[in-house]
Amino acid sequence: MGEGTIQIKDLVKVYKDGFTAVNGVSLKVNKGECYAFLGPNGAGKSTAVKILTTLSEPTSGIVQVGGFDVKTEPDKVRWEIGVVLQETGLDKELTGREILEYQARLFHMTRRMAKERATHLLEMVGLENEGERQIKKYSGGMRRRLDLAVTLVHEPAILFLDEPTTGLDPLNRKAMWNEIRRLNKKEGVTVFLTTQYLEEADQLADYISIINEGKIVASGTPEELKDSIGADLITFEFKDEEAAGKAAWLLGKSGKIDYQKGNIVTVSIQEADRQVVQLLKDLSGEQIEVARLDVSSPTLDDVFIRVTAEEEKE
């Protein structure tokens, strides 16, 4: 019924020392969606993941993962989820193959199934030649990949990733992104990830919530969030100042002139990527030649900075 879904209603988490880590979060993740929790350190992301993955109990509110309540049916939730935490969870004395086989056996697979599953997963994360080596001899990137493989042993319907690429070099980060994307898009695994990196959320997520001080302060698709900060910018370069003057007058009808100096005109406009074609037609209709142009959209960084700045003002 609720397979592959996450539902949170009015989640509050107050720690024993009185610190409120999560303060009234509600959200819904559909099956097969990639949902990102974006926020700075200490925003409450990890606490939320701990609650969703049955490591911590909610103080109040309802949390359902895969259709099961994390408070009353944690063991059923555990069959549905795979979790990659910030720190890998590997016994480094074991070999890659051993830890995968043990994990499979702990999920009640037969010895033969466990063996096959381990072989398959080692290949999947590109460690087929390293399976017989002890994990302590692995590099950081290899450990992360193995950690992901261990998480996938029981083919979870929902995958939680807590800052999956923190501390990874750009190459390994790209590889991790591709793997997450493949699991999400090709295998239909629901993904819930937390990140501090706007680029990561933008690259992977269908839906983003920005969390700050335990509260969701903004949410939407990456495009919606970017739209919320305002229009895109198109910068035109013309052959001389005269052409620029004529163009500015014409462009001013469609958008707002943001900047004009010399042969450069910048216009602020909604949905620039669509509008730019029409604008070019208008300009050529008036025999104005465009030498160069650049379309830029607000980045999630802009959204993030604005939203968190607003929080501070309050």
């Binding site: 490591l55 979790v83 480094k92 004395e93 009640h108």
Partner: protein
């Protein structure tokens, strides 16, 4: 698969894992075993003469000191259970296990069973060497079984303690420091001479309240005197009582460690 089958599989897998890690790191148990054998050889060689004293009642000093060697070796195996849990806590494997439907008890039981198996093997090695040195067990093969059972009992008591410390402190140094309790336990006792020969009143008092004394005495009974039931029964009773205390302590720590914040 029902709960009991699941529990059996989980415990077996995690025990197997602990044994593999143990075998891969022989230096976690070799020094301890070496020291214990060293005790046996050096004390037998150096102190045998005092067994001439009437208080020894004609006992062979090898038989007298053997329980000390066995018990000190057992500390290694039993303490390993706690060390292994600390290692898991530090590596994050513990958290990983908690996110799976693994029976919580199996997480603690795996390393404990592995520690007990290690301890049995060590005891058999020490006994084997003692036999080569001319050991005679007055109570026969049944006596050897009594010694093994008492050792496992003592090991379980110590494992319970080490697991409790590990889960309570979640810190390798603290768990390591916790094993130091083995010094007063082994040496404030009838370690080298019978109670009648201990002169300092404080050491005598310490020996009387130290549970290890009753363990030594019951092992010595089967080794030297044969089936003298008094000391054997009090040995099992004391070890049983200590086991109950430390295992309860470890269950309490484990419940806290497993309880979700």
């Amino acid at each position: 698969m029902n709960r009991i089958q699941a529990f059996m599989i989980h415990t077996w897998i995690l025990t197997k894992r602990s044994l593999i890690v143990l075998i891969r790191n022989p230096f976690t148990f070799i020094p301890n075993l070496f020291i214990s054998l060293f005790f046996l050889l050096v004390y037998t060689g150096g102190l045998s003469g005092i067994a001439q004293l009437p208080q020894f009642g004609g006992a062979d000093y090898l038989s007298f000191i053997l329980p000390v060697s066995i018990v000190s070796a057992a500390v290694g195996g039993a303490g390993g259970a706690g060390q292994s849990l600390v290692r898991d806590l530090e590596s994050g494997y513990f958290a990983r296990l908690l996110q799976t439907p693994v029976t919580r008890l199996a997480i603690v039981l795996g390393p404990t069973i592995a520690g007990m198996l290690q301890l049995i093997v060590q005891t058999l090695i020490i006994l084997g060497i003692a036999f080569l040195l001319g050991l005679k067990v007055e109570a026969g093969p049944g006596g050897v079984l009594v010694i093994l059972l008492l050792t496992v009992g003592w090991g379980l008591a110590f494992a319970g303690y080490s697991v409790a410390i590990a889960l309570k402190t979640k810190n390798a140094q603290a768990a390591q420091a916790g094993t130091l309790i083995f010094f007063p336990l082994i040496f404030l006792s009838t370690t080298f001479v019978p109670l009648e020969l201990i002169e300092a009143p404080w050491l005598r008092a310490a020996a009387i309240i130290n549970p290890t004394t009753y363990l030594f005495e019951s092992m010595r009974a089967v080794l030297i005197d044969g089936w003298v039931m008094g000391p054997v029964i009090s040995g099992f009773a004391v070890i049983g009582a200590v086991c109950i205390v430390t295992v309860a302590f470890s269950v309490r720590s484990a419940t806290r460690a497993f309880k979700r914040e």
